[in-house]
Amino acid sequence: MRLRAIPKSQRLPELATVRTNWVCILQHLLRRVAALVLIVLAGGILCATLVRFSPGFGIDERELDSRLNSASIAAIRDSHPDNRSLPNFYAQYIRNILRGEFGTSETFQRPISELMRERSNVSLRSLALALPGAWMLVLTGAILITAVRNRGLDVFSSVLAGALMATPAAMVALWAASTGRGTGIALILILVPTLYRYARNILERSFRKMHVMAARARGISTSSLLVWHVLPVAAPQIIGLFAVSISMAFGALIPVEFICDSPGIGQLALQAALGRDLPLLVTLTMVVTVLTFMANTAADAFNEAMTPVSA
C-alpha cells in the first residue's frame, strides 16, 4: 500500500523553533503601506470631488463681463485648465496631493498646505507636552495601583477616572481656558482617564497570570515581578494603546484648541466645518488619518518584531 504524504497545512509545527519572523513583519508592513496608499487615494478622490462639484467651481470673473458674447465666454471656459475632463481633473488633483499641494482654502483664501504647515507647529507643540505628560501620569498611576494593591486607592482612582471620562472634552477645555491652564493641561486631563483605565486593566490582567502568581508565591519582590514578569507581558498592549492615544489626542485637539483659542489644526478643522470649507476639512481629516495610521503601523511592526513567532 502506498502511503499518502501529509499535506503541508496539516503537519504539526516544529516545537522550539522560535525565530523573529522578519518575513511576517515585512508582509504586514506591505499590507499596511497598501492600506495607506488606499486611504490617500480615497481621500484625494473625495477632496477632488468636493472641489470639483462645489458651487462656483471653474467660474472665471471675466465671464461676468456683459460685453462678451456667448462664443467668447465658451472660449474662456475652454481655456480654463480645471474644466478638462473629469478623469484628467482627478489625476491632476492626486498628482498635486502627492507633491504636497492640497489646493486653496475657501474660508481663508490661502493655500491649504501653507495653512497646515503654520497650524501644525502649534498643535505638535501641544501634543509634545500632552502625550508624554499623560503617559507619565497613566503609567505611574497604573503601576502604583496594581503593584500596591490597596483597595481604597484603587476605588478612588477609578471614581476619579470615571468622573473625568464622563465629562465632555469641551467642558474640560472650557475649564482650562477659563482658568488659564492652556491646551496641554486640557489634553492631559482628557487623555489620562481613558488611558489609565485601559493601562490599569492590562497590568491587572498581567498580574493575574499564572506564572506571575507562581513567582509571587516563591517570594519574588514586587519590583522584580514588575520588571521581569508583568511589564514584558503587558508591553505589546501598552505600545498598541500608545498608538491609539495619538488618534485620541488628535480628536481632542478640536474642542480644546477651539475653546482655548489656540491656532492649531484642531481649531482650523472646526473653523473649516463652521465655514463649510469642505476641501480644507477633508484634507485635514486625511492628513490626520495618515498620521494615526502610521503610528498604528509603527506600533504593530514594533510588537511583531518583539514577539517571537513559532515556525
Binding site: A35, L38, I39, A42, S158, G162, A163, M165, A166, T167, P168, A169, A170, M171, L174, W175, A177, S178, T179, R197, Y198, N201, S247, F250, G251, A252, I254, P255, F258, I259, A269, L270, A272, A273, L274, R276, L278, L281, V282, L284, T285, V288, T289, T292, F293, N296
Partner: protein, 268 residues
C-alpha cells in the same frame, strides 16, 4: 447583581422616568421666556433659576434630558443594528466579502472619530430647524458609530461559526438564513446588548461636544450639550453653582451606563 449596577439602574431609570414626564413635571415650556426675570436665582417659581433669556433652567434641563436620553439610545440602536448586520454577514460568509467588509471597518476605525464627525456634519446644512438639527446630529452619530461594534460582532460570529452546534446544524441541512436567525443571532444577544450600552454614553458625550462647538442641536431646543454651552461664562460659576446641574446629570448618566457594563466588559 453588584451594588454599583443596582445603583446605576436606579439612577438611569429614575432620570429617564423624570425626563419622559417633562411635560407633566416642568413648570414651563422649554422655550417660554420670563422677560421680567432674566438670570434669576433659584426660587420657588424657578427651581434652578433662569438663563440670560429668562427661560426656566429646570424645565429646560428636563426637556434637554428627554432629548438626550431618548435619542442617544435610538442612535445606539441604529449603530448596533448596522454593526450586527455587517458583522454577521462578514463573519458568516467569510472569504472575499468578509475581507472587503472588514477592510472597510478597519478604514473607518483608522479615521479619527471627531474629525470624521465634524466633516460629515459640515457636508449637511448647518442652518436648519431645531428638530432637523437634533435628528441630523443623532442620526449621524448612529450612522458613523458602528465600526468598532461591527468588529466585535464579527469576532463573535466567527467564534460561533466554528462551534460544534453550528457544524451539527449545517451538517443536518440547516440553510444559512435559518442558521443565522435561529442559531447565531440568539447567541449574539449578550454581545449586541453590551455594544448597545457602550454606545449610549459615547453618543451622549459626542452630542454634548458637538453642540458646545456649534455643530449639534440648534436653539431653542434644549439638549444637555446646549445647556452646557451656558457654562461658557465660567467666572460667575462659584457664585451660581446651580448652573452646574446639567453637567452633574450628564456625568451621572454616563457613569450609570459605564457602571452597567462594569470595567472589564467596557475595556475588553
Amino acid at each position: 447583581m453588584k451594588v454599583d449596577r443596582k445603583i446605576a439602574w436606579f439612577v438611569i431609570l429614575g432620570l429617564v422616568t423624570v425626563c419622559m414626564c417633562a411635560q407633566l413635571i416642568a413648570p414651563a415650556n422649554y422655550a417660554k421666556q420670563f422677560r421680567e426675570a432674566p438670570n434669576a436665582s433659584p426660587s420657588k417659581q424657578f427651581l434652578l433659576g433662569t438663563d440670560d433669556l429668562g427661560r426656566d433652567r429646570f424645565s429646560r434641563l428636563l426637556y434637554g434630558g428627554r432629548v438626550s436620553l431618548l435619542l442617544a439610545p435610538a442612535a445606539a440602536l441604529l449603530s448596533t443594528c448596522l454593526a450586527a448586520g455587517l458583522g454577521t454577514v462578514a463573519g458568516y460568509s467569510g472569504g472575499m466579502l468578509a475581507r472587503i467588509l472588514m477592510g472597510t471597518v478597519d478604514l473607518f476605525l483608522s479615521l479619527p472619530w471627531f474629525f470624521l464627525l465634524i466633516t460629515v456634519r459640515a457636508t449637511l446644512p448647518l442652518d436648519v430647524s431645531p428638530m432637523t438639527s437634533v435628528t441630523v446630529t443623532f442620526a449621524l452619530l448612529g450612522f458613523l458609530g458602528w465600526a468598532a461594534s461591527a468588529r466585535v460582532v464579527y469576532a463573535g460570529v466567527r467564534a460561533l461559526r466554528s462551534s460544534d452546534f453550528i457544524t451539527t446544524a449545517r451538517s443536518c441541512g440547516c440553510v444559512p438564513w435559518r442558521t443565522l436567525a435561529v442559531h447565531i443571532m440568539p447567541n449574539l444577544k449578550p454581545i449586541l446588548w453590551a455594544q448597545f450600552l457602550v454606545s449610549i454614553p459615547a453618543f451622549i458625550l459626542a452630542e454634548a461636544n458637538l453642540t458646545m462647538l456649534g455643530l449639534g442641536v440648534a436653539e431653542p431646543l434644549p439638549s444637555w450639550g446646549s445647556l452646557l454651552k451656558e457654562l461658557e461664562n465660567y467666572d460667575n460659576l462659584s457664585a451660581q453653582p446651580w448652573r452646574l446641574a446639567p453637567l452633574v446629570l450628564l456625568m451621572l448618566v454616563v457613569w450609570g451606563f459605564q457602571a452597567l457594563l462594569g470595567h472589564d466588559e467596557v475595556m475588553a
